[in-house]
């Protein structure tokens, strides 16, 4: 069981290493969305500081969302997806590996880069650890839940927009708790309840989502 898990994980990481750009892209996207706000809205420091938690979280979410489209697409098109599903190894583990690889190449680098961007948006420094923590807890949920939507739509050759439609309602709870935890931290309020909820969502999605992903993939392939 673990053998297929490692094989899939290794393959996905190798693929994104081959296109080295891909590893950098979510980061750069993140940076740019963050820079769009001061430009579009207002560059005043105190105003930005108030915006910062929300903007950082929203753009992390969008970065995750943007990369979802290609998660299973190329595997579907070149036929390796159906070969994965024909494996006698468990499809649950395969799905888990794919979602994990997605997080390792998008969510994780985002979370690690966040402090720098927080600085650019004048987020009070006492809120920075909470920001990183919420991103570390929240972005895997985004990857796992997003992978479900990606799996559902992979056979439909639509752009990423249908995925967004399916996925944003499910992302909103994560966004609310993540952003308001950071907001609370800037005001010196307690955040442990928020973190606990984020953690609970994380566990739920890591355990349950692979079932839904595997089932959706089997369905998408069967046409």
């Amino acid at each position: 069981m673990l053998r297929a898990f490692w094989a899939e994980l290794k393959r996905d990481l190798l693929l994104s290493f081959r296109r080295r750009g891909d590893l950098l892209n979510p980061l750069l996207f993140f940076v740019m969305v963050v820079t769009l706000f001061p430009l579009g809205v207002s560059p005043a420091a105190d105003f930005l500081a108030k915006l910062a938690p929300g903007v950082l979280w929203v753009s992390a979410l969008l970065a995750a969302l943007l990369s979802l489209d290609s998660l299973f697409k190329s595997d579907y098109e070149d036929g390796t997806l159906e070969q994965s599903l024909l494996s006698s190894e468990s499809n649950y583990m395969m799905a888990m590996a794919r979602a994990l690889a997605h997080w390792l190449t998008t969510g994780l680098p985002l979370a690690l880069l966040a402090p720098l961007l927080a600085l650019m948006l004048f987020l009070p420094s006492e809120a920075v650890p909470v920001l990183v923590l919420t991103l570390l807890l929240g972005t895997p949920t985004l990857s796992f839940v997003g992978a479900i939507a990606s799996a559902l739509t992979v056979g439909l050759n639509k752009g990423g927009v249908l995925i967004s439609l399916l996925v944003i309602p499910l992302y909103i709870p994560v966004l609310i708790f993540g952003a308001s935890a950071v907001q609370n931290a800037t005001l010196g309020l307690p955040v442990s309840a928020h973190l606990a909820i984020l953690g609970a969502m994380l566990i739920m999605s890591v355990v349950l989502a692979p079932f839904a992903i595997a089932a959706s993939l089997r369905m998408s392939v069967s046409s």
Binding site: V145, I148, T153, L165
Partner: protein
């Protein structure tokens, strides 16, 4: 199938489109009649006889549309998700069709709840819209409905589409408790529950009774609309079955 029957026989019978079609032919007039009667009585009672609210005056009367549609929007989602699960587990075509028939009705209810809420919000809270937890989660519900409908219409193979939307609606189920308990978990502008099995109603009984009539009337209306859409869907999907051909040539 009969040999591993853990479920009652009618459950399997209902799974046959033909049986289901005939069964709903009998049920339909009853539900339609009940819906019309209850809604007429409810509306007349609500608009003409129920007392004015001592704070809000007559504007509160929109509650008689708002609350039933809000409740229904959630119940329909639940129905849809449960049918989706049944469709996946027991591969029952009828369950898939019910789930499909539910989605647009539910979306329209969610939309109605949002619109009536917004109209009501203007005089009471002073704005059409606030970003309150209940309102927001209701909006998410509407989006979920949209997503489900979009996914369904995006897929050509309807068996697969049913399976896909079932998975999605099961995942979206997490939103229902959030809507329900948002008013308790966060202190918000919005009212908390009026209907409860354990507690006495918080509003005067003469306001509350017509609301109850309206809610039941809405449920009957939902059942009617669901059956109409379902029967339509059965005919389309089974268009090559012998009994459908016979039925069509009779008309």
């Amino acid at each position: 199938m009969a040999n591993k029957s853990i479920l009652p026989l009618w459950f399997y019978k209902l799974a046959s489109p033909k049986y289901c079609y005939q069964y709903t032919t009998k049920l339909l007039p009853w539900f339609a009649g009940a819906a019309i009667a209850l809604l007429c009585v409810g509306i007349a009672w609500a608009l003409l006889f129920a007392p004015q609210d001592y704070q809000q005056g007559n504007s509160f009367r929109i509650i008689y549309m708002h609350v039933p549609s809000a409740i229904l929007a959630q119940s329909i989602y639940l129905t849809m998700a449960i049918c989706g699960a049944i469709g996946i587990i027991w591969k029952m075509k009828i369950a898939d069709m019910v789930a499909y028939a539910c989605a647009p009705i539910g979306a329209s209810m969610a939309f109605l709840a949002l619109i009536t809420g917004a109209i009501w919000g203007k005089p009471t809270w002073g704005s059409w819209w606030v970003w309150d937890a209940r309102l927001t989660s209701m909006l998410i519900l509407l989006f979920l409905y949209f997503g489900i409908m979009a996914l369904y219409s995006a897929m050509d193979n309807k068996t697969l589409a049913a399976k896909a939307t079932a998975i999605l609606s099961l995942v979206g189920l997490v939103n229902i408790p959030v809507i329900k308990y948002s008013v308790d978990w966060w202190n918000t502008l919005h009212q908390s529950a009026t209907f409860s099995l354990t507690k006495k109603p918080a509003m005067p009984i003469e306001m509350w009774l017509p609301l109850l009539v309206m809610v039941i009337g809405f449920y009957c209306w939902f059942a009617t609309a669901l059956m109409l859409r379902l029967r339509n869907e059965i005919l389309i999907r089974e268009k090559r079955a012998q009994w459908v051909k016979k039925l069509v040539t009779q008309v």
